[in-house]
């Protein structure tokens, strides 16, 4: 409860600034906070990345091990994505199994990676029909100052770029870098009174948890979309969101090229 009062105060401030056409931290409506990407921070993981967007921080670790393939895809590797919104990251997160927000976050990040075919799963077969590589993408929130979604998606792809398949440890061959052939980027916006605020910070979210996430691949195809929040979206705003998301994803993709 003691943080509720801050949200009330911030809400008024966000709305009053919006009426002047401004955001509370002086950003443009389509401007991201400072983004930092650091890979290889967890040496025990097969791949890892820490992403900071402003004060928001997320760690993603990639672990791999051999496992049984799905019967309908006997020669394809398997991706399993999970998100832990641990109580450390926010006064509003409770200990326990993933709630609907954690599950939604993991599934949207997963969709972006899967539908863009960023990882060529057919290269992850060890023995057709009996052994394939399982890729566990584990998202661990550390500090929620808004937009965990984009930070998680970015950390996931950065971690995959950083991943080495541990074939030697399991005695199935030589280690090799995980083949990543696309760079899906998620762009989340907050919809407030007909305004689109890209990369909302926590204080801005106090107005209402009405988001739109659009993930695109390196050819500007849309590979995932998620309207999140109980609000009504107009067609006009929707088209605007698509244009903005493609443009911002292109900018962020540049950062991944240095990874």
């Amino acid at each position: 409860m003691s943080d509720e009062i801050l949200m009330d105060i911030k809400k008024d401030y966000v709305l009053s600034k919006l009426r002047d056409g401004e955001r509370i931290d002086g950003r443009k409506f389509d401007e991201y906070r400072k983004i930092e990407i650091e890979t290889g921070i967890i040496s025990k993981a097969e791949g890892s990345a820490l992403v900071k967007i402003g004060n928001t921080q997320v760690v993603v670790g990639v672990k791999m091990q051999p496992g049984e393939p799905f019967p309908d895809a006997p020669d394809k590797g398997i991706i399993i994505t999970n998100a832990e919104l641990v109580p450390l990251a926010s006064p509003t997160f409770e200990p326990g199994p993933p709630d609907e927000n954690a599950i939604e976050l993991a599934r949207v990040v997963d969709r972006g990676i899967r539908e863009s075919e960023a990882v060529d799963l057919s290269k992850l077969c060890i023995e057709e029909g009996s052994k394939v590589w399982l890729i566990f993408i584990d998202i661990h929130a550390l500090d929620d100052d808004g937009n965990l979604m984009d930070a998680s998606a970015l950390a996931a792809i950065a971690a995959l770029l950083n991943t080495t398949v541990p074939a030697e440890r399991f005695e199935v061959g030589e280690d090799f870098p995980l083949p990543v052939r696309d760079l899906p980027v998620a762009v989340t916006s907050l919809i407030v009174n007909n305004n689109i605020l890209v990369d909302p910070c926590r204080d801005e979210v106090s107005v209402g948890e009405n988001f739109m996430t659009i993930t695109t691949d390196q050819d500007d195809n849309i590979v995932a979309m998620q309207k999140s929040g109980s609000y009504l979206l107009s067609e006009e705003k929707f088209y605007e969101l698509i244009d903005i998301s493609i443009a911002k994803a292109r900018e962020i993709r540049e950062l991944l090229k240095d990874v």
Binding site: S2, E4, I5, D12
Partner: protein, 233 residues
């Protein structure tokens, strides 16, 4: 003004062997005085105390606080004062209460108020009153939130910093001990005051902070005048 260096102390640091010297932020055990929290050590002729650098707001009787009404009950209002402890404002402690007036017409869910802590019982049940000159319902203006441990810094020695902001900007400012500050007046001047408050919160009482804040305010005021002059709304 002398530049006194204040040492940072951690919980358990020994401050004095004279139990009579034990002041705020310390505890006594076996005749020795220790620091209770992270803070700045303040040694004087009267004793030792620790000025906390962090910590949630814990109410004290007499504190002026800014709060928001969370619940309307049959005999008063439950108020959120940004503390682990909720506060209660009884009907009879609000001068606007009159027989025949509906409770939620006097103060409703979400209304902001400035009140004073009247009483705290051993279970930390906090009772508020609005029967004081400084108290009022807040119908306009802005509320700014800072770390409650920094409130003395924002107020300044003998209220000097607050007086400076008020006189330079011509706005109303009421500082709640709970780290919530009410600002009211011209929108742009209020904005400048808010920025100034964040600067004061951040920077130590370094020599010349008062001058720097005065400079900052003058500069910002100048920018507003320029905008007005060039015909911008």
């Amino acid at each position: 003004m002398s530049n006194v260096s204040r040492k940072i102390v951690l919980p358990g640091d020994l401050l004095s062997t004279n139990p009579k010297a034990a002041g705020y932020g310390t505890y006594v055990e076996n005749g020795k005085v220790y620091a209770k929290t992270l803070g700045l050590l303040d040694k004087s002729n009267t004793g030792v105390r620790v000025i906390p650098l962090k910590g949630r707001y814990i109410p004290s009787v007499g504190d002026v606080v800014v709060g928001i009404v969370r619940e309307v009950t049959a005999n008063g209002w439950i108020v959120d004062i940004h503390s682990p402890y909720q506060a209660f404002l009884p009907l009879q402690e609000n001068p606007e209460s009159k027989p025949g007036r509906k409770i939620n017409e006097i103060l409703d869910l979400g209304d902001a108020i400035i009140a004073k802590v009247l009483n705290i019982d051993p279970k930390m049940k906090v009772t508020l009153t609005m029967k004081d000159r400084v108290c009022r319902a807040i119908r306009f203006g802005r509320i700014v939130a800072i770390n409650p441990a920094r409130v003395p810094r924002v107020i300044g020695k003998k209220g000097s910093m607050i007086k400076l902001l008020k006189s330079e900007l011509g706005i109303q400012i009421i500082v709640g001990q709970n780290g919530l500050i009410w600002l009211s007046g011209d929108r742009r001047k209020v904005s400048i005051a808010e920025e100034a408050i964040y600067i004061i919160e951040e920077e130590a009482h370094t020599e010349g902070l008062t001058d720097r804040i005065t400079e900052f305010i003058k500069k910002r005021k100048g920018e507003i005048e320029d905008e007005r002059g060039s015909g911008n709304p």
